[in-house]
């Protein structure tokens, strides 16, 4: 049944998580992830990303709502789910005094249908580190060891909690490539990140979490579609924002200014930009620091933070 391509591999309905002290970290979120999809949970620190992923991994029981992974409750039906999932926690989890090879051998012994350990260490570029103790690895190398072990059992579903934090630019690109290859081979991937370009470049679909709720979700294009583009520039001495043509005529939906620098948000970037530049041409004004950019995930992300009264 769960072989069905259209059946969601991960199904989350009105999920809630409350910690011992009464803090409600996850406040009713709903989403689903299809087979072979990369889904990103995006958010600032404290948005509830890890709290959510831990519920999907079955490390804790939700305070409310429902989680299904491959059709099973990951907390109550652990034995049914675990052989088919791979997990990379946000940090650590390996004894400092074991070597890379010993750690991999231990994990392989605990994983059904494990691939040979040297193969996965090779996959993440740690083959030459197999005799090094975990405590001597760099932060990035530890992330890659964690990823290697998550891949040992050839999981159908992969949970990656901030997989590239601590990696250098090259390591990050390698990890992205690896994750894409896994997705292309049919693996379902749920990852969390606070890197906007990671979510934008890697995810098929994403959800932006804010204070335990989903503030926006969809494909990266859908999430940014409803967002205004932006244009900013600096007016020369003697000119004021009031000198600009009426903003409503420019298609501007929102603006900010400190008297000199002007930031315009618009749903019709071409129209706004054309009108502003035509005005500058006519008035013989040089607009310094001119910056015109279409809606990006960053804009969507900052927009959500701004709308919800969060300082950025």
């Amino acid at each position: 049944m769960d072989k069905d391509e259209h059946e969601p591999v991960i199904e989350v309905t009105d999920l809630r998580r409350v910690y011992g002290g009464g803090f409600e970290a996850v406040r009713g979120i709903t989403f689903s992830v299809a087979r072979g999809e990369i889904f990103a949970l995006l958010g600032t620190n404290g948005a509830g990303k890890t709290s959510t992923v831990e519920l999907l991994e079955g490390l804790a029981a939700p305070a409310g709502g429902r989680v299904r992974v491959l059709g099973h409750d990951p907390y109550r039906e652990r034995a049914a789910v675990r052989p088919r999932t791979g997990v990379m926690l946000q940090e650590g989890g390996f004894p400092a005094e074991l070597t890379v090879a010993e750690t991999a051998r231990m994990w392989a012994g605990c994983t059904s249908g494990a691939r040979p350990e040297p193969e996965v260490l090779e996959l993440v570029g740690l083959a030459d580190k197999h005799r090094v103790r975990v405590k001597q690895l760099s932060g990035g190398e530890r992330r890659r060891l964690d990823l290697a072990l998550a891949l040992l059992g050839e999981p159908e579903v992969l949970f990656l909690d901030e997989p590239t934090t601590g990696l250098d630019a090259e390591g990050r690109r390698d990890t992205w490539k690896l994750v894409r290859n896994l997705r292309d081979a049919g693996t379902t991937v749920l990852l969390t990140t606070h890197y906007l370009e990671e979510a934008e470049g890697l995810a098929d679909r994403l959800a932006i979490l804010h204070e335990g709720r989903i503030a926006a979700s969809g494909t990266p294009a859908e999430v940014t579609a409803g967002r205004p583009s932006r244009m900013s520039f600096e007016l020369p001495e003697g000119y004021f924002p009031g000198d600009l043509p009426p903003l409503a005529d420019l298609g501007v939906c929102d603006h900010e200014s400190d008297g000199r620098t002007v930031l315009l948000r618009t749903a019709e970037l071409q129209r706004t930009a054309t009108a502003v530049l035509a005005w500058a041409e006519r008035a013989g004004v040089e607009l310094r620091g001119l910056d015109v950019r279409s809606a990006s995930l960053e804009e969507a992300f900052l927009g959500i933070a701004r709308e919800r009264g969060m300082t950025s």
């Binding site: 079955g58 004894p95 750690t103 605990c110 249908g113 290859n181 896994l182 292309d184 049919g186 693996t187």
Partner: protein, 286 residues
């Protein structure tokens, strides 16, 4: 890097897994034990390597049971052991085995559980296929094996050097050792539940160590205690184990008393297991 190799075998592999999973749901058959043994072996092997690399733990585990009993010998010489049918060799041997339970198994395991929790190892293990009891058991196996090996070596050594001779009731030794090792490991997990850091483990383990040393017949044989005090002390966690092992050599334990000791050990194990299920913490407090 290339992840393309993962796709080809997927259908077949997951098909096999799915069958295995449905077998699980119907209750673990004989075939379900093989993966459990494999996982326990993998975890125990890693834990043994870690134990070997922790010099402090190795020293405590080896030195305490081998040296402390002999430091106590002068005090024991003052007790009228013959009246109770005991000889100095038997008393020293059970004392040494008792210290082995306390230091090679109990204390070292409290530290190991807390250290693995602090390193987030327990949390990471719980994301895998190991069940919670498997994680706790696999972690405990090297310490339990060490305790067992010490008991065997101590028995042979005492037989040779202190002329304890052959045990008079050898059938009591196995349940005695089993009770001591299992209760020590279970109480170590329980103590770890209430221990925040590896440093505080040195303090939280002390009450059990002191109470057992004084009350469970490890330093003072319960046989020489006033009767009322002795009957209370017999209910302490390690008392049944010590009693059974000592009786294994002296041969002096009736059926009634043997069953009582076994029941006490079983009760402590059950209490510890339920308490661990209720209170054991798998992650550090934030």
């Amino acid at each position: 890097m290339s992840g393309t190799g993962t796709g080809a075998g997927r259908g077949g592999v997951s098909g096999v897994r799915r069958r295995a999973v449905s077998g699980w749901k119907g209750g673990p058959g004989p075939g379900a034990l093989a993966p459990v043994a494999r996982r326990l072996r993998a975890l125990a092997r890693a834990e043994l390597a870690l134990l070997g690399r922790n010099r402090g733990a190795v020293f405590t585990a080896l030195a305490m049971p081998l040296t402390l009993p002999f430091a106590m010998r002068p005090a024991l010489d003052d007790l009228d052991l013959k009246k109770e049918g005991l000889d100095i060799g038997t008393v020293l041997l059970t004392t040494a085995i008792g210290f082995s339970f306390l230091f090679a198994v109990y204390t070292s395991l409290v530290s190991a559980y807390v250290a693995r929790r602090e390193e987030l190892v327990l949390k990471r293990l719980r994301t895998g296929e190991l069940s919670d009891p498997e994680i706790l058991t696999g972690t405990a196996l090297p310490a339990i094996a060490l305790g067992l090996a010490q008991a065997v070596v101590l028995s042979a050594g005492c037989a040779a050097l202190l002329h304890t001779g052959a045990p008079k009731a050898p059938y009591l030794l196995l349940p005695g050792l089993l009770a001591g090792l299992v209760v020590s490991a279970a109480l170590a997990a329980l103590t770890a539940s209430f221990t925040r850091t590896a440093e505080s483990a040195q303090v939280t383990a002390l009450p059990m160590v002191f109470v057992s040393m004084v009350g469970s017949g490890i330093t003072v044989p319960t046989e020489v205690m006033p009767e009322r005090l002795a009957s209370v002390c017999e209910l302490l966690p390690l008392s049944p184990a010590i009693r059974l092992i000592r009786a294994g050599w002296s041969g002096q334990l009736g059926t009634h008393e043997t069953l009582g000791a076994l029941a006490t050990a079983l009760a402590w194990t059950i209490v510890a297991v339920f308490a661990v299920r209720r209170w054991f913490r798998w992650e550090p407090r934030r």
